[in-house]
Amino acid sequence: MSYDEETLAKLLRMFPPAPEGWVRAAQELPNARDALDDLVARAEADAELRRRILNDLEAALAAEGVEPSSALLAELRVRLSAD
């Protein structure tokens, strides 16, 4: 492939940065995962807590310091519903 200036410019322009907040949230996933596991473990041991979490999943994650992305919310819902 020939990499003239025009081609290089076009290819470079195809890679704008993803929004900073999105990248940060993705980088926080390992911590979010730990918090999620902890939350599920506590909910398994406390039916009232589990009910409250299921009532407001977003608030429950936010209270743990986790950005409530749709993927994490879906996972939390599935894990609590399956228990």
């Binding site: 492939m1 990499y3 003239d4 200036e5 290089l8 410019a9 076009k10 290819l11 470079l12 322009r13 195809m14 890679f15 704008p16 940065p17 993803a18 929004p19 999105w22 990248v23 949230a25 993705a26 980088q27 996933l29 390992p30 995962r33 992305s69 749709s70 993927a71 994490l72 996972e75």
Partner: protein, 170 residues
């Protein structure tokens, strides 16, 4: 850029900095597939982006060949985008992909290779090229941010592009 094998091995060993590197290395690629390949925007694009990295994080130990990390992530992104489009239309998961998708994805793979080559340039060249082409900053802004006369930015861009070309054609 670290090699894919090295990155995967470090992630699987639980090195938190490795996961940060992985996200940093592939965030633009995933974002580009979502927004340019599948034309997802706003909350749909953000949800798809996060969902891809949730899946990558959760399934990295199932990746058989660490050298295939990029195509694996690309495939996962395509699946997530199709699911997102189907969810928006309240349909069953679809396999119907947007027109021109394959050509766009081929170009994005080339763009990824250019990005890898760019990582071998000097920090100043990386900054200038990234700011001008990827972040669409003006000569003036780049000059102010990097402490360089705005009048010299055009010639530096040209010089850095020539170096990038040398790397790619070496």
């Amino acid at each position: 850029m670290p090699s894919e094998e090295e990155l995967v091995a470090r992630c699987l060993a639980g090195d938190p900095e490795a996961w940060n590197d992985l996200v940093r290395t592939y965030s633009r690629y995933v974002f580009a597939i979502c927004s340019q390949g599948y034309r997802l925007q706003g909350a749909d694009a953000e949800d798809a982006f996060q969902d891809v990295f949730v899946r990558v994080y959760g399934r990295l130990d199932t990746l058989r060949n660490a050298e295939a990390l990029r195509p694996w992530i690309a495939q996962m992104t395509r699946r997530v985008c199709l699911d997102r489009i189907a969810a928006g239309k309240r349909e069953e998961p679809s396999d119907v992909e947007p027109l021109g998708l394959e050509a766009t994805l081929e170009e994005l793979d080339e763009a990824f290779a250019v990005r890898e080559a760019m990582a071998e340039l000097s920090e100043e060249c990386r900054e200038i090229l990234d700011r001008f082409f990827c972040r669409d900053e003006s000569y003036r802004t780049i000059g102010e941010e990097l402490g360089l006369p705005a009048g010299t930015i055009a010639s530096r861009i040209s010089r850095c592009l020539a170096r990038l070309r040398q790397r790619l054609e070496a």
